[in-house]
Symmetry: C2
Subunit: 328 residues, 2 copies
DNA sequence: TTGAAAGCGGTACCAT
DNA sequence: ATGGTACCGCTTTCAA
């Protein structure tokens, strides 16, 4: 591995000069520049990022904190962020918290120790002091924090929309799946849906999900139909839960959407492959990751961002688990 | 951010001593150790990984190169790797190649520039010179390379097993989905299945998938039934393709598995939520990630690994898209 | 326009 | 048992 010294030696100049052509700043004579470039080429030189980071007290790494990359919603966020960051030469250090405070703190610690340029955090603990220091900028992802840079979608509106569509399809005995209580995003969409249902004077039941895992989703689906067998409409807390409910409904021989409507949340890629394909509230996950990374990049470069709190629109994907007009 | 100097000052010792207690090597008097520890605590000191990496010429980062984290097979690999590496204090730098050589080289370059301790690579180009240097150890993931450390599963056996089960369920007009030609893993499982079918003298057709993306899977499924309407058994190249085929089969009003059997590959988490739940060949993705990381860790620590080429077993998950005995 | 040298925050060798 | 210091590879004054 060639170092800047080797290049300097080969080109017959000082390391300072090499550094100058490397960073394209300061005065460098055209001839020397050429000499240096040639030397770099010959030695197949590329600068050591670690040394650079040490001096600058900032690396070109961005910490990405996620609950669990295994949940299909998050890989898209991650890809969006990665693709955006990549354009400016930043890379991702990734950490899965499993929603556990301890793991989260552990990752935040290593992010800091690695002098990350910034952090993208899908966290349940945005009020941690670790997020308020001025060491590195932080953008909250999939989570709004008052007064802090964040990118999120309107969970309340999404929940409302789901309930409205359910009503439009004339379900009369609705079961609302409430996501894990500790997750603000899950609460918002739940509240939105509940409010619409209540205002409409609709009859509905509530069942709570222990987590967003597939295993718990399957259990939940069975419990749902055991507790509320008359259910003819389900507003799920996310697409995984919806898939589990759909599975169970079909297993019980129910016709979807004729006898029971199901609406999911997130619009993970696989939702359209279910049969019937899943009607759901779409969060633009990839775009959210991108926007968050874009915001973070501005913060890193100390450019004043136009907007610091970005709310992304949520859309209703009408597919085949809800009733179309011909049914109504 | 406190530095080692600050700690030394506060404790009234030299930086050398602080370094000794930090790394727990060399002689340190019990009393001084306590003094230093107290000072570290008081200053909330934690060592700068970047400085450490620079001196050691090696960071505690591991590069993870993946085709696309958005494909549900890979997050599990990543999690397995992360969980294993974490135990030894290593972190993940992640890169998605989209199977593009240029992106792959770009990531390998930054991995090197960041002085990663090692690389975990799910690559189609294991013969790149970047993988043969002795700068950092490399473990190939989901890919076997002769004589090089690798963790993979037996694609051939998996393909064979799928075909055998298909035959056992008495499908007589089988369509074999061939994954993207450029992917060795896809070829292996295809070859395995094809060989069994040929040896059995079974009648079968082949259709090729352009990619592993959901979009292409949906297109493929339509083409499949258009080209081979008599198909009564499909061996898919992976679970996404299988889900698409299942979707299309149901849409066409076919009874599964009565009229058509479908077998997937991978056993991604969502497969059991499909309806009917998908019979598939399971690759232990999480475990593969874990094992690969474990191997890499040994290589990093220069411990002689017992085995350098780890083949993981593949298992048949009999679920509901294949015929059980009662049907036969 | 260029070079010398002082850091960045650690580690490890050599003295003492 | 402890301290001084060179060094890891780069950037950035400051002088020349």
């Amino acid at each position: 591995m060639a170092t800047i010294k080797d290049v300097a030696g080969a080109a017959g100049v000082s390391v300072a000069t090499v550094s100058r052509v490397l960073n394209d700043n300061g005065y460098v004579h055209e001839d020397t520049r050429t000499k240096v470039m040639l030397a770099m080429e010959k030695l197949n030189y590329y600068p050591n990022e670690v040394a650079r980071s040490l001096y600058k007290r900032e690396s070109r790494l961005v910490g990405l904190l996620l609950p669990d990359i295994t949940n299909p919603f998050f890989p898209q966020l991650a890809r969006g962020a990665e693709d955006e960051l990549q354009r400016e030469g930043y890379r991702l250090m990734i950490g899965n918290s499993d929603e556990e405070l301890e793991k989260e703190l552990d990752y935040l610690q290593t992010f800091k120790q690695n002098q990350v340029a910034g952090i993208l955090a899908a966290t349940n603990y945005p009020d941690l002091p670790e997020y308020s220091g001025s060491l590195y900028p932080v953008v909250f992802l999939d989570r709004a924090k008052e007064g802090a840079p964040s990118v999120f979608s309107d969970g309340r509106a999404g929940g409302k929309r789901a309930a409205e569509e359910m009503l439009r399809g004339k379900s009369t005995s609705i079961t609302l799946v409430k996501g894990p209580g500790r997750l603000p995003t899950a609460q918002e969409r739940f509240n939105g849906a509940r409010d619409v249902l209540q205002k409409a004077g609709a009859q509905f039941n509530v069942i709570s999900a222990a987590s967003f895992s597939i295993k718990d989703a399957a259990i939940l689906a069975k419990e749902l139909f055991a507790a509320f067998p008359e259910t003819d409409g389900v507003i799920a807390s996310n697409d995984i839960a919806a898939a589990a409910v759909l599975h169970e409904a079909l297993r019980l021989g129910k016709k979807v959407p004729k006898e029971i409507q199901i609406i999911g949340y997130d619009d993970i890629p696989q939702s359209s492959l279910l049969f019937p394909s899943l009607s759901t509230i779409r969060q633009p996950a990839y775009e959210m990751g991108k926007r968050a990374a874009g915001l973070l990049l501005q913060l890193i470069k100390k450019e004043p961002p136009k907007e610091t709190s970005i709310q992304m629109p949520v859309t209703y994907m009408e597919r085949q688990t809800t009733r179309k007009d011909e049914y109504k």
